[in-house]
């Protein structure tokens, strides 16, 4: 537009614009012959995205229903589908205890992260104190730590104080890595709650704690759900620290249990049972995604949009 240069009288400019607008409208109206192309391309893209995202998971389910010689053929449908693999993993005590361990470690970590995290987030969102920026930067930089960096010292410390191969030995480092994200999400949610509500409570004689518990927390429930979900996903999924800090079915979490199914039998890998176990530990997460899609997307994009 600006590149047109020269002297432009207002009159011609307006007429020029009018003409361009007309052309643009004409372009959009252009014949019924081409109108179907865009929706077609769009639907093609949508179908491609669905195949790309869902096919590998379908494949995993397909493999989990195969046994014996079916496992050496690449059929898209299991020729003789059977639930034998599922049957055998639930009879496998190591796998069921890994499931229990993961449920316990994940729920305790998530609850602790929400409690400790919402305290910190309330302070960051509402209270006035110096060096807040620095504090937030430090907290956030923790979330970028590679877990391997603390693996060696924690491994050594835990063996010395008896935390090695225990729940608490996993919960503590998980809490550390989950807190920054929880604090970040909760702080941005708390900030969106109108301050007036809380001030009204304070004026009416409520203490800060009462204002927090009775006004902020109920309104921040969606934020708590989001932060809780992301924490739980992180803990359920974590592998490096679990692999390093546990050594027996007493504390193995599901990723460790499933990954070591693979490792232990180097020459005859039980791909059928591994796939069945993989499906079982993924189903809860897929269900959570279906139920809480909006909350999860809100959490994932909380840090990225404001730019």
């Amino acid at each position: 537009m600006e590149a047109s240069g020269g002297v432009v009288t207002p009159g011609t400019d307006v007429r020029q614009k009018e003409k361009e607008r007309e052309e643009a409208r004409a372009l959009e109206r252009r014949g019924p012959g081409r109108r179907w192309i865009r929706p077609l391309l769009m639907w093609l893209a949508v179908v491609l995205i669905c195949i790309f995202c869902l096919f590998p998971f379908y494949w995993l389910i397909n493999v989990s229903l195969k046994t014996g010689s079916d496992l050496s053929q690449s059929d898209l449908l299991p020729p003789s589908p059977t639930l034998d693999n599922y049957d055998s993993i639930f009879k496998n005590g190591d796998f069921t205890s890994a499931l229990r361990n993961s449920v316990i470690v994940t729920s305790i970590t998530t609850i602790l992260a929400l409690i400790v995290g919402s305290f910190a987030a309330y302070a960051l969102a509402r209270l006035r104190f110096p060096r807040k920026f620095l504090l937030l930067a430090v907290i956030l930089s923790i979330s970028t730590f590679p877990p391997i960096a603390i693996a060696a010292p924690i491994f050594k410390l835990w063996t010395e104080i008896g935390f090695y191969d225990t729940y608490i030995g996993l919960i503590l480092p998980y809490l550390t890595f989950a807190l920054p994200l929880a604090i970040y999400i909760l702080t941005s949610f708390f900030k969106e709650i109108p301050k007036e509500l809380e001030e009204a409570a304070l004026v009416d004689g409520a203490t800060y704690f009462q204002a927090f518990r009775k006004v902020i927390l109920p309104l921040a429930a969606p934020g708590l759900v989001t932060a809780g979900l992301l924490t739980a996903f992180f803990v359920w999924n974590e592998f490096l620290l679990a692999q390093t800090l546990t050594s027996s079915p007493k504390a193995f979490t599901v990723p460790v249990s499933v990954a070591n199914f693979t490792g232990s039998q180097k020459f005859e890998i039980p791909l059928g049972t591994i796939s069945a176990a993989s499906v079982v530990i993924t189903i809860p997460l897929v269900l959570a995604v279906i139920i809480f899609q909006k909350r999860i997307v809100a959490g994932l994009t909380a840090g990225a949009v404001k730019g």
Partner: protein
């Protein structure tokens, strides 16, 4: 009269601010301390301890043997092909997977943005790979590329790629599978971040450009890309940080063989398989330094976000 009330009001407010000041600060310390104690004890202190351990020669196999080794572990690392191989693999993996994820993620985000019907459903579909555990994603791709069982080698052979190749058993091909598995799991995450960025671009900008006769490509090149840049940067840095730390995929896919060993993987193996605490720590510290370098750029990029959170309202 009015002025007097206003002055009185202002006076009262100032007084309250002042009296809240110390109470507020005390409360802030109280509320922040649990989080800070955990972070200090389980992140900051171990990092320092790791640096110290990396300067010692210490193996769990010989508990009595311990000596201060100075920079010996680092010299050993810099002189080993294992370390440089892992550096090469880690950066190759990061470069390939993050750039592929950006292209595919951007494509997915644009398609999702254009699709008005079913955007919610698409979002759920796209979240499925994100929800799949990394270990499970590795197992899935392993079964897809397994000789006989896997579908991928057969299909790829038909279009002339990798005839008679044992994908996970050959250098280069194993890396390709690892990149694929990562792209599958995380391109959707990239797409969601970029979709959120696309949604904040106002429609009027496009309408104005349309009126001025800009083509679809021009609108993409001159409007979408520049306005999406902040979201792209954040997504890129998030993904780069993650990819540099990759551990689960090589562990399950290949155990680090065939040109897929990464920094986190060799450090973890030295620690747990070989029980070399000193040398393993040195490798961990080197990984940490590399990742924190990138993380510094990250904090600078999202600095605006942190500032807006830190602002008092």
């Amino acid at each position: 009269m009015e002025a007097a009330t206003a002055r009185l009001g202002r006076g009262r407010r100032r007084k309250r601010e002042k009296s809240y000041g110390s109470e507020e600060r005390r409360l802030a310390t109280l509320l922040l301390s649990p989080a800070m104690v955990v972070i200090a004890l389980v992140a900051a202190y171990p990092i320092g301890y790791a640096v110290w351990l990396s300067l010692t020669e210490y193996s769990l196999r010989e508990p009595g043997k311990w000596r201060f080794a100075g920079f010996d572990n680092y010299t050993e690392a810099f002189g080993s092909t294992e370390f440089w191989g892992a550096v090469k693999n880690t950066f190759l993996f990061t470069g390939l997977s993050v750039s592929l994820e950006l292209v595919i993620g951007l494509g997915m985000a644009l398609a999702m943005h254009a699709a008005f019907k079913g955007r919610g459903l698409l979002r759920t579909v796209v979240l499925v790979p994100w929800a799949v555990l990394t270990v499970v994603s590795a197992i899935t791709w392993r079964t897809l590329f397994e000789p006989n069982l896997g579908l991928a080698p057969t299909v790829l052979e038909k279009i002339g790629i990798g005839e008679n190749v044992v994908w996970l058993g050959q250098e280069g091909y194993a890396m390709a599978v690892m990149v694929l598995a990562d792209v599958w799991k995380t391109a959707p995450f990239m797409a969601l971040l970029l979709l959120a960025g696309l949604q904040v671009i106002p429609d009027d900008v496009y309408d104005a450009a349309k009126v001025d006769g800009a083509t679809t490509w021009q609108r993409f090149r001159r409007i979408t890309i520049p306005l999406l840049m902040p979201a792209i940067l954040v997504a890129l840095i998030f993904r780069t940080l993650d990819a540099l730390r990759i551990f689960d995929l090589p562990f399950v896919l290949t155990g680090g063989t065939n040109g897929t060993s990464t920094l986190s993987l060799i450090a973890q193996q030295e620690l747990t398989t070989n029980n070399l605490i000193g040398y393993g720590s040195a490798l961990s510290v080197l990984t940490f330094v590399i990742v924190m370098g990138v993380s510094f750029i990250y904090i600078r990029t999202v600095g605006g976000n942190i500032k807006s959170l830190a602002e008092d309202t």
